[in-house]
């Protein structure tokens, strides 16, 4: 591989996969807002049976 090609491959990986990692880290650090406006409660769920494991 030419140096230029290797460089472009690394830059693309850093930006795209790096962007993915950063966006996941940012989301995990603050998954939801804690200062939402009042209201906005949903109706009860139709599928109440499943236990929620995720955020």
């Amino acid at each position: 591989m030419s140096t230029e090609a290797i460089l472009m491959m690394i830059v693309a990986m850093l930006i795209i996969w790096g962007g993915l990692i950063v966006s996941i880290v940012v989301l995990r650090a603050r998954p939801e807002r804690t200062d939402l406006p009042s209201g906005g409660q949903d109706d009860h769920r139709q599928d109440a049976g499943i236990i929620e494991h995720d955020t």
Partner: protein, 541 residues
């Protein structure tokens, strides 16, 4: 609205319409962020990521393509994704209902998007079915030495459409028909099970499995002889390409088609997100996952192409490096030539099936949601009804000896004209004409952790519509000037332009009947923001 106390506000904010319409079922919802993100990734990551991106990047400047690609991701992909999210999440409906809540007549734009999904679903299911067949074939390397002849001749039994030959037959091919029927049964079963137990569950299983299977495939192909040459071809930058407008248009087109935006999917999925939930943060994860998977596919596909080129003593440019032929002709050839090929083939076609199936589920969920909401149908009635109708059309059109030609034509016209026009309609009517941009941005910012700045208006109000209008006009001029793929012009008139006409006709016909679903609706949080006394701080500037 008159405010009395906080409970009254809550009741109104919630839209406690269930008190006036107690028979209406509450809206389905993803169980949480992970389920939503995986489902949205499942929708965005489809066949296009695997067989379109690598070839487009290679043809448009190689390594230099990353520049317009990333610019397009940031200025068009993510902004349009946010527009879809905001519409679906704020107005709590599939495409027709969400647009109707923006402005009553815009329901027709929603149905235009539903029609796009209808036309895509009928042929997309066929490709998933082919991939499923090839998954089975790969265990015995059934295609032998001539994969092209096997795919076109034995598997599809394509009628010769070189000259005055049949353009449309109803000679069914059992090897295509049976898997196609099975795909429809499977997808309808998933949809009928509901958003949580069907859509979300399928994605929670298939997406991690897809990433693992495809990851193994890519790592394996990196160690093939000649892989480095393939990567060299893909990533060597041609900086001169950056001065070519068509390269930029290709980048915007790639981002736009691969993210599954602007034809109702992301609107529908966002509407199944609970009201009090973060939208933009997960949106970034989805957008970068989609691009991340494309990059992975580019590396895997070009490593494998480099291997095949070295085996056959040709250059990568001589191979079919894009589209249906890449998947069903070039890849089987690679599999035959490599050690342990059967396993590699099963991984590749298994990945195609999973990527395609999860996208097909999302495409049909758009149709299902629209029918449920407009005609007040139960989920089961809507999914079984649409399954029977669309499944029949799909089998009639695409399991015959002329299926490939019809598929190719409908795909080209619906994508390049239908979806592009749909995005232009969205931007023009929602942002320009009815000026809902500030409300939608307020909504996103009020519920989300990552804040959307004013730059978003520039993207969805100017950059995206301008780029797309240029793309659309250019495409239409090209299509008028030269028949698509040199196909018969009468055939193209019906199959190609006819598909576009069908989108418009369907949009009108489905808008006309009376809306039978719930009509009363209050968006939350209210806009313009209510005064600081009743709303908590944190509403966004």
């Amino acid at each position: 609205m008159t405010r009395f106390d906080s409970t009254a506000i809550n009741a109104e904010g919630v839209g406690l319409v269930s008190t006036t319409n107690s028979t209406a079922a509450p809206r389905e919802a993803f169980t949480g962020q992970v389920g939503f993100i995986l489902s949205a990734i499942g929708s965005a990551v489809g066949l296009g990521n695997i067989w379109r991106f690598p070839g487009v990047a290679y043809e448009n400047g190689g390594g230099a393509f990353m520049v317009p690609y990333l610019v397009a991701l940031l200025t068009a992909g993510i902004p349009i994704l946010y527009l879809d999210y905001a519409l679906g999440h704020r107005f709590r409906g599939g495409a027709p209902q969400a647009f109707r809540r923006v402005k009553r007549w815009l329901e027709s734009v929603g149905w235009f998007q539903v029609m796009i999904c209808v036309l895509i679903a009928v042929y997309y299911a066929a490709v998933v079915a082919w991939a499923a067949s090839f998954f089975v074939y790969s265990f015995g390397l059934d295609w032998g030495d001539d994969a092209a002849a096997f795919f076109v001749g034995e598997h599809l039994q394509l009628a010769d459409v070189g000259g005055a030959d049949p353009w449309l037959t109803f000679d069914f091919v059992a090897a295509v028909l049976i898997p196609l029927v099975l795909v429809w049964v499977a997808v309808i079963a998933v949809l009928a099970a509901g958003v949580v137990k069907g859509v979300q569950r399928a994605n929670v299983i298939f997406i991690p499995l897809l990433i693992v299977a495809f990851g193994v495939l890519v790592v394996r192909s990196l160690f093939l002889e000649g892989a480095v040459d393939g990567l060299n071809v893909l990533f060597t930058p041609d900086w001169g390409a950056l001065g070519d407008p068509s390269v930029w248009i290709a980048a915007y087109g790639q981002i736009f088609f691969s993210l599954s935006v602007a034809f109702g999917i992301m609107i529908t999925y966002a509407s199944y997100r609970r009201r009090r939930s973060n939208m933009t943060g997960p949106g970034l994860v989805v957008a970068f996952s989609n691009s991340g998977f494309e990059l992975l596919a580019g590396i895997g596909v070009f490593s494998a192409l480099g291997f095949l080129a070295s085996q056959q003593g040709v250059t990568v440019a001589d191979l079919n490096f894009q589209g249906v032929l890449l998947a069903f002709v070039t890849f089987p050839t690679i599999v035959t030539e490599m050690p342990g090929g059967a396993f590699f083939g099963a991984l590749f076609f298994g990945s195609l099936v999973m990527a395609g199936f999860t996208s097909l589920v999302s495409i049909l969920q758009v149709v299902s949601a629209a029918l449920q909401e407009k005609f007040a149908l139960s989920r089961r009635a809507a999914t079984i009804g649409l399954g029977l109708v669309l499944g029949t059309i799909s089998v009639l059109g695409f399991s015959t000896t002329t299926g490939l030609i019809l598929l190719d034509t409908v795909d080209a016209f619906v994508n390049n004209i239908g979806i592009v026009a749909s995005a232009i309609f969205m931007c023009v009517f929602v942002i320009w004409v009815y000026r809902r941009g500030p409300e939608l941005r307020y909504h996103l910012n009020a519920v989300s952790t990552v804040q959307v700045g004013r730059w978003w208006y520039a993207c969805v109000g100017a950059i995206v519509p301008v780029m797309l209008i240029v793309m659309l006009v250019q495409y239409i001029i090209t299509r008028i000037g030269e028949p698509y793929e040199g196909y018969d012009t009468t055939y193209l008139l019906f199959a190609g332009w006819g598909s576009v006409a069908l989108l418009v006709l369907g949009a009108v016909l489905f808008t006309l009947p009376r809306w039978r679903g719930r009509e009363d609706f209050a968006p939350w949080p209210s806009y313009p923001p209510v005064d600081a006394g009743t709303e908590q701080k944190g509403s966004v500037r």
